[in-house]
């Protein structure tokens, strides 16, 4: 089932990867999540979450070219796959549905 079982950090990771586009790798994803949400995320949580999403088919990945700044090591680049987009959309639709009518209580407005 699309969106079924997407955890909190999984959603954030998928969104971060989508935002970052071609530059999405573990370090940038972690930085993006922390800067956007104010939430401190451990490095290990990010690595394992990205790999879990890859195993589920929601992320694709490939190794980039190695660079001197990285001690000659490549980085694993991620991108969101079509099933990943569908899963994320389903999860966000579910949240949006639950939020319907609660705008006054939460002082949160859905973007037009």
């Amino acid at each position: 089932m699309a969106g079924g079982g997407l955890g909190d950090l999984e959603k954030l990771a998928l969104l971060a990867v989508m935002r970052l586009g071609e530059g999405a790798y573990a370090v940038s994803v972690r930085r993006e999540i922390e800067e956007r949400t104010g939430r401190v995320v451990s490095r290990g949580a990010v690595y394992t979450t990205l790999d879990r999403l890859r195993r589920k088919g929601y992320l694709g990945s490939a190794m980039s070219e190695p660079t001197p700044e990285r001690g000659g090591k490549a980085k694993r680049i991620f991108w969101v796959t079509a099933p990943g987009v569908a899963s994320l959309q389903s999860a966000l639709d579910g949240i949006s549905s639950l939020l319907d009518g609660l705008e006054d209580q939460l002082a949160w407005k859905a973007r037009a």
């Binding site: 370090v27 451990s42 290990g44 001690g71 490549a74």
Partner: protein, 183 residues
Amino acid sequence: MEGTSVSQVARLLMPLVPREHRDGLLGDLTEEELPTARVAVETLGVALWWQLEPYRDRSIRLASLLLWAVGLTWLRLVPAAAGDAAFDPTLYTGPIAMAAAFFWSVPIVPAAIAAGLSVGRLTVVPAWAWAVRLHAALGLAAVGYATANGAALGLAAAGCTVGAAWFGDRARPDDDEHRNVTT
């Protein structure tokens, strides 16, 4: 911090990280130019997350229990079946027969080998969840050591469990991509 220091600290813990992610992690730690102590802490943290990751899956938790159950059964069953068999060299002729008799007179050793092979060979745990096999192998090795008659036999049993698990893992016919054998 020098890149060499990053490698020295992180490489010690790399066997606990999936092989396909090691270069990426080393590169990330180098890129961020973290202090040496921080590298060690970060690498240890990442390694622990990877070790615990398979247990998030209920089916893998059940498979882990199965590995343990099969291993513990071997460790109990074989010594019980061997009973009080003792090695008496005068009863056997030929090196193979004598070796077999000796082998069965220390039943914890074939039991440990059977347990280890089961852990490595059973396909109930997917290849990517290799940490589960590692934990089962080490845990059963400890059980073998504790139940053996004496420290020498205990070490032999523990070593045989881990070695057989490694061998079984190498010989298992499934997805090689995630196999984390350190060779």
